[in-house]
């Protein structure tokens, strides 16, 4: 029984690593494959008569795996519409998602795309941790107000910023009702690998005086890989997937999106604003952690704690005099 459970778990985990064979079959559906070995382009095939030939691992051109050009970034991945589901019941402000996001996009430490709020909806209701990526709205006000079309929405739903064109007027920052956009107030002090070519999908190298925001890791999606925050989360809080496949996964568990939303009463934040976000939240019911764990995890890091000092929960936990 235990052995079976063990193998089942590894099976679920392996859900991530589609084999090339399955992918060949899956190609009919998605046209893409094998997330496990994406980075190297060729694989050697020993043919029936013993010759060795090199074959493409997938039917993507090499170009597809390099950061997309600015021109190319304007088009979404064909047939895709990305969706994220965040399970508030599991979030304990571990901040691994933030760390990986900062690292993966080479963000300066004072330029954070992913924020984790400590929300409390009403005086009597319970506080909860609330990770907020960019919602990639289907009615994005930030895109509407941009005077130069530097921020744009793609067919797969992702809203990107073309730093090359951005004039830094910050109108999009006031346009976004979710405070999801941040500015490069000074020259970004981050070492980016040499020779990196800028792409709106990776959003680095960044430029001073322009606006940045979460890009749903559009660069990884192109390689059929999950966004960095999804993989980084130790609790599997964040699910991600293609709405057209009606499937989301947090890297361990894969579920039917519509059923997850139905069974767990998924909702979108501030539906009343009419922005039509692509990010859904599952309410914080049957929680796995006490909300205070989000503080105790960072006991060593007062800078993080201080960010929540105005919340009621913080004051209760540390005492008012703190």
């Amino acid at each position: 029984m235990t052995a079976k459970n063990e193998s089942r778990r590894s099976f679920l985990k392996a859900g991530l690593s589609l084999s090339a064979g399955a992918a060949l079959g899956a190609a009919a559906l998605s046209g893409r494959a094998d997330s496990m070995d994406a980075p190297s382009e060729k694989i050697k095939l020993v043919t029936a008569d013993g010759r060795v030939i090199e074959v493409e691992k997938y039917d993507l051109s090499i170009d597809d795996r390099n950061p997309a050009s600015i021109e190319k970034s304007h088009y979404g991945l064909p047939g895709r519409k990305f969706v994220m589901v965040i399970d508030l019941a599991k979030c304990k402000n571990a901040r691994k998602c933030v760390e990986k996001c900062q690292e993966g996009h080479y963000l300066p430490e004072d330029h954070e795309w992913l924020n984790i709020y400590l929300l409390k909806d009403s005086p009597e209701s319970a506080p909860y941790w609330f990770p907020r990526p960019c919602f990639q709205c289907d009615n994005p006000l930030c895109v509407s107000v941009c005077p130069v079309g530097a921020t744009f929405k793609r067919t797969d739903g992702i809203v990107l910023v073309d730093t090359d064109r951005c004039i830094g007027c910050k109108f999009c920052m006031t346009g976004c009702p979710y405070s999801a956009r941040v500015f490069h107030w000074h020259e970004p002090e981050v070492e980016v690998p040499e020779g990196t070519v800028y792409s709106p999908e990776t959003a680095y190298p960044a430029e001073e005086g322009t606006v940045g925001k979460c890009v749903f890791c559009a660069d990884l999606l192109r390689k059929n890989e999950l966004p960095r925050c999804v993989v980084a989360c130790p609790e599997g809080v964040i699910y991600f997937g293609d709405l057209n496949e009606d499937t989301v996964t947090n890297g361990v568990e894969t579920m039917v999106f519509s059923e997850l939303i139905k069974n767990r009463s998924g909702y979108r934040y501030h539906e009343d604003l009419g922005t039509r976000p692509s990010v859904y939240y599952l309410p914080p019911v049957d929680r796995l952690y006490e909300v205070e764990e989000g503080f105790s995890l960072h006991a060593e890091n007062p800078e993080i704690l201080e960010r929540y000092k105005n919340t009621e929960t913080y004051k209760k936990y540390f005492g008012d005099g703190h």
Partner: protein, 292 residues
């Protein structure tokens, strides 16, 4: 007590040991994975890691050679691969490629890294018993069943039904496999009902995957088929957005209003400037008349 003393001495020596390690090659963690893909191709992957400090790290760009053993027990080179950024090198073997099976009916593979100044040589063996999975999609009214037949090549070279193994059914999606369920083979057969809530593409196509996962003797073996059992999802696409405010083209009324306003205002400006020019002309005429 003895071990304790040894431990103390070892830790005393550690700084020297570390110095030594800088010039001595690292020993590797090296392991193989075997997959038999749905089309019958065999894929062998080797992953190499080393431990420069406290953690294992993958080695990228390392050459790995793959062999199989022939009748004489000699190694026959299949191909080589270079490890990628995940430390893995893979090769594919065509289903028709003649591989030797030993008296137990097993195919034996060997993978070996190169010995370098930095890394020690590492090699790993793999003995695989071939199994064959066949999937059938049965539709009976609303009842949709996936049937799986499994046979194993025994030591006598005969195909016999496979039993007591777990088969995992799933639907491959963009990032992961959506699980359908898990069944145990009985007398070379198992089946599962296809649920009604799986969304397919525009043609309602859904790929179904069945596999035995990381078996000690079979490796990972897969079978797949494309069904047309998918639910029609409502497509969420923004292929041709209309003139909404966020689209590249502004709404028509906005363009018309702007043009009307601009033409109106700048028309009057031009009129005013023309009048100024006429005033100057009149002045020139007046001055000329005055002189005369």
């Amino acid at each position: 007590m003895k071990t304790k003393i040894f431990f103390i001495i070892a830790s005393l020596l550690l700084p020297f040991g570390m110095k030594l390690a800088a010039s001595e090659p690292y020993s590797l963690s090296f392991y193989l994975e075997y997959r038999k893909l749905a089309e019958g191709e065999r894929k062998i992957s080797a992953t190499a890691k080393y431990k420069p400090d406290r953690f294992w790290e993958v080695i990228q760009g390392m050459k790995v050679e793959f062999y199989y053993l022939n009748e004489e027990g000699d190694e026959v080179l299949l191909a080589d691969g270079i490890t990628d950024e995940k430390g893995t090198a893979s090769i594919l073997i065509d289903p028709e490629y003649p591989l030797y099976r030993n008296e137990e009916g097993l195919i034996e593979f060997v993978a070996r890294t190169e010995e370098t100044e930095k890394y020690e040589l590492a090699e790993e063996w793999l003995s695989i018993r071939d199994i064959y999975l066949e999937m059938k999609l049965i539709e009976d009214g609303d009842e949709r069943t996936i049937e799986l037949h499994a046979e194993v090549l025994d030591e006598n070279g005969e195909l016999v039904p496979l039993s007591d193994e777990d088969i995992y059914f799933s639907v491959p999606r963009m990032f992961s496999k959506l699980p359908l369920g898990e069944e145990t083979l009985e007398d070379g057969f198992c089946s599962i009902t296809f649920p009604a809530n799986i969304v397919g593409n525009a043609e309602r196509e859904v790929t179904i995957l069945a596999e035995i996962f990381e078996h000690y003797e079979f490796g990972t073996v897969q079978a797949s088929k494309v069904s047309t059992w998918g639910k029609l999802g409502s497509p969420h696409l923004i292929e041709h957005p209309s003139r909404e405010l966020w689209t590249p083209v502004a709404p028509l009324w906005m363009i018309i209003t702007l043009i009307v306003l601009l033409v109106g205002v700048w028309g009057h400006y031009i009129y005013a400037i023309v009048q100024l020019v006429l005033i100057r002309k009149a002045g020139t005429r007046f001055e000329r008349e005055q002189q005369v």
